[in-house]
């Protein structure tokens, strides 16, 4: 790892001022960036430690929902009794991230802002499109873990587990920058590569995520996060799905279905949700939701297996979420 100067800002304004300058990068839990720095993928001359900022490490319950500081660890989210009970998809997603050792240090802010795991992007010797090169090597290379839904020209999948769950629960992120703070629906935080090739989200240089706000679910809401991995003990998702259902008796009144592992952003499938709303949740409606979720899929040479996998994951997640209602 190259040497760097390590900055310990005490206020968000100081952190923003530091991060607005060239050669700086932010570190929170460091579970992504330290490995990338050891690999020589990033070589910041100045590292700005967000952990030194006070007040961003708490989960607050308010009358309208939850306020989660960006520095809250994934373990704290996974173990929080209110999140487990009322925001189940988020607790299950946080628990599905990596390993206990990583969840004990990794933060929710870092989980949302982590960089993709595409092996061409991660290889410091490969100058891919995302790093300013002239081609996406996944298009003709080994693309078994890549996107089945992407407008191009890059085919990463977004690696976050918490993002699909938070989007399905209607979360917003607070972003601090040089011009003050702004709030963005998490759904609009992430950007497809045709809009933003070098990054994965709307963050501008100097901006940092400081808080995640999750609205209180309406009565009758149940949710789940289901993740399928190649290595079950710990791995990134081949495909995952967060499903939030608002039930009234046997009838689904509102639904959100957001997939991970299929697209460069967490993929919010309105057509899958449409198959569920106004109907009882049955094997037939859940199967229809799964099929609808992948209707836009155009797989690459080695990842067509993800199409039936995603349909099955959505179906199983819908049925699991609905079972939660009856229990």
């Amino acid at each position: 790892m190259k040497a760097f100067a390590y900055h310990q800002p005490r206020t968000v304004a100081d952190a923003v001022r530091l991060l607005s300058q060239r050669g700086t990068m932010a570190i929170a839990g460091g579970q992504d960036i330290l490995g990338a720095m050891k690999d020589g993928l990033f070589e910041p001359e100045h590292l700005v430690n967000l952990k030194s900022l006070p007040g961003l490490g708490d989960i607050k319950e308010t009358s309208t929902g939850l306020q989660i500081g960006a520095l809250v660890t994934l373990s704290d989210i996974a173990e929080h009794p209110v999140i487990r009970r009322d925001y189940t998809a988020l607790a299950e997603a946080a628990e599905a991230v990596a390993t206990l050792q990583i969840r004990n240090v990794g933060t929710i802010g870092g989980n949302l802002c982590q960089r993709p795991r595409c092996w061409y992007f991660r290889d410091p010797h490969v100058h891919c499109l995302k790093k300013g090169g002239d081609q996406c090597y996944a298009v003709r290379g080994d693309n078994r873990y890549h996107a089945i839904i992407s407008p191009g020209p890059c085919y990463i999948v977004h690696p976050s587990d918490c993002a699909p769950a938070l989007i399905a629960l209607g979360a917003k992120v607070t972003i601090a920058g040089a011009k003050g703070t702004r709030t963005v629906a998490l759904k609009h935080f992430f950007q497809m590569p045709d809009k933003n090739l070098k990054g994965e989200n709307v963050l501008q240089p100097g901006e940092v995520v400081t808080q995640i706000t999750v609205p209180k679910p309406k009565a009758g809401t149940r949710s789940t996060y289901l993740k399928v991995r190649e290595k079950d003990s710990f791995d990134w998702a081949l495909v995952s799905a967060a499903v939030v259902l608002q039930m009234q008796g046997e009838i689904c009144r509102a639904a959100t279905v957001v997939l991970g592992g299929v697209a460069p952003v967490p993929y919010d499938s309105a057509s899958a949700a449409k198959m569920l709303v106004g109907k009882p949740v049955t094997v037939q409606t859940a199967t229809a939701a799964g099929k609808a979720a992948v209707e836009q899929a155009t797989p690459l040479e080695h990842n067509a297996y993800k199409v039936p996998l995603a349909a099955a994951v959505v179906k199983r997640a819908v049925l699991a979420a609905a079972r939660g209602v009856r229990e």
Binding site: K2, F4, A5, Y6, D14, S75, A98, I102, S233
Partner: protein, 225 residues
């Protein structure tokens, strides 16, 4: 001939072990010297110095900046140590290379294998993926803290009795993950034992015996052993 053999110095096993370690340490020093002399290392040092020479144009007033070598105070196994480290030094390298605590193993150095697992304020973390400067003010426990003299920790004792290792390189990491589990959950289920070890890899594949040993440690601890 026999007389000569009798004249050879006799070493106790402890002495042999100590001199083997000293030999390996000296080897490490030689290797480190060789790599320092290599041109790659020199270039890297130069680049590091150049990077440190470039200051930010408008450093904010309230922020502290750590550059070059800084004093880092670590509370390891109940003792406080102040080291002179660069901010880029990981907790793993601080423990192994600066404190001589080589029980914590360096394998993947990328937060994927678990051999470097230590406890930070009682929670298992990958010491390769935590900067030493960030571990200040926290209680650090390594595998060296477990045995009390000749008395092994129940998890260590169970690993010996159940032959829960082959090459043994992953063992300190597994032991620390299981120690953290049992501190928090004294009567875990078999499933909880598996989940606690999910962040540790054993390339020899001794998982079944590791799980058996963990459950045996639970039994012996509940008997007060």
């Amino acid at each position: 001939m026999d007389e000569e053999r009798e004249k050879l110095p006799q070493h106790t096993p402890e002495e042999v072990d100590a001199s083997r370690r000293q030999f390996l340490r000296n080897l490490g020093v030689t290797a480190a010297m060789a790599s320092l002399l290599s041109s790659g290392a020199i270039l890297e040092e130069r680049r590091a110095k150049r990077a440190q020479a470039e200051t930010l144009q408008t450093p904010p007033s309230g922020a502290t900046e750590l550059r070059g070598t800084v004093a880092v105070t670590l509370q390891v196994n109940g003792r406080e140590h102040t080291l002179q480290l660069e901010p880029r030094v990981t907790l793993l390298d601080a423990l192994r290379d600066h404190l001589g605590l080589t029980g914590t193993k360096r394998v993947c150095d990328r937060g994927s294998c678990g051999a470097c697992t230590v406890l930070l304020d009682g929670k298992p973390v990958y010491s390769c993926s935590v900067l030493a400067v960030d571990a200040q003010g926290k209680k650090i426990e390594t595998v060296e803290s477990l045995a009390q003299g000749e008395q092994l920790h129940p998890v260590q004792q169970a690993f010996v009795e159940h032959d829960a290792l082959m090459c043994g390189f992953c063992t300190p990491g597994f032991i620390m993950s299981l120690k953290a589990l049992l501190d928090k959950t004294p009567q875990p289920t078999a499933q909880q034992v598996k989940e606690a070890c999910a962040g540790n890899i054993c390339r020899c594949g001794t998982y079944n015996r590791i799980f058996e040993a963990a459950l045996a440690a639970v039994q012996s601890m509940s008997r007060g052993g």
